[in-house]
Symmetry: C2
Subunit: 158 residues, 2 copies
DNA sequence: TATTGATGTGTTATACTATACGGTATATCG
DNA sequence: CGATATACCGTATAGTATAACACATCAATA
């Protein structure tokens, strides 16, 4: 785990750094980080919670950047496809990536009390899923690994 | 992995055994395996694919067992709550449990080509997710572990 | 320059997934 | 029996996601 969003940290830098890293990555890969895409990334970076597509759309709409669902979904598709954001299946929601470096296979820890989400990372072909796949000759292309529970603070409070 | 649904097997017994085991388990736990609940379980057992709630509802409707979404969702809630079926988050769909014995933490291998799904099993507190949680003091209550890819047969075909 | 193709945006309409709520019936148990 | 909980059904509505078509931009190229 390279980032501990359950703990206090310099959050402003999360946004600035995230956008800067994405911009650089897009430039290097000849991808277009357009206005809407960048704004959606900023919105996702603005906290460590997962946001629904319609929640994001509400923000875009208030800013005149688009009013219909496809606007949000298209931006989210771009961001997730290129690794700048991830989809949390359990929540039908999206979150900015916290490992904007290399291709990676995220694990998410979702606090059901404060709704914060932390992204960890580890090779899915290793571990239990990989072992199960190997036993049956299954070829993994994508792995969903999400844990739901209580973050340290909420666990203490309870 | 105690069952290899990617391979040929006596499928009729999947249904019969599954229903019998569920009936027995319900009796022991004083749960009501009502007509609709049992029928939904049979439908899920009838193949090793995940089925959407509305797909199940279509069958119920054709049989006069109910016509509105809540009918299917209520039965599915019962079945998943008591471990007779599982929800596949990645697919917004449901599948019969193949380990009708003890409480367990399933792993699913989803073939994107033939849509078959196999359930494996292993303790989620161990392995990568547990390690990530432990590092941050996160308390896991439920884990989603789903791999998408190609089953042996479809991988060979490709 | 004119054409073409690829990509992005905007909008309308619709499909798919899921639950809240109100009312009735049935089971269980003191 | 009466009380409580559980299951049921249906209506209505909420929440999530995509198909399809029109228009704009830009880069490569005939």
């Amino acid at each position: 785990m390279t980032q501990q969003a359950f703990q206090a940290h310099d959050h402003k830098s999360c946004i600035a750094d995230g956008v800067a890293a994405a911009a650089q990555s897009c430039a290097a890969r000849k991808l277009q980080l357009t206005k809407v895409r960048q704004r959606v990334l900023e919105i996702l970076l603005s906290d460590h919670k997962a946001m629904g597509a319609y929640e994001i759309l509400d923000v875009l709409r208030a800013e005149g950047l688009g009013s219909q669902p496809p606007v949000a979904y298209r931006a989210l598709e771009f961001l997730t496809k290129h690794g700048f954001a991830h989809r949390i299946e359990r929540l039908n929601a999206f979150i900015a990536c916290s490992h904007l470096n290399d291709p990676h296979a995220p694990i998410f820890l979702i606090c059901r009390s404060c709704n914060r989400v932390v992204e960890a990372e580890s090779d899915p072909t290793k571990g239990e899923i990989g072992r199960a796949a190997q036993q049956s000759g299954f070829v993994i292309e994508r792995a969903v690994r999400e844990a739901e529970g209580l973050c340290p603070e909420c666990a203490d409070a309870a």
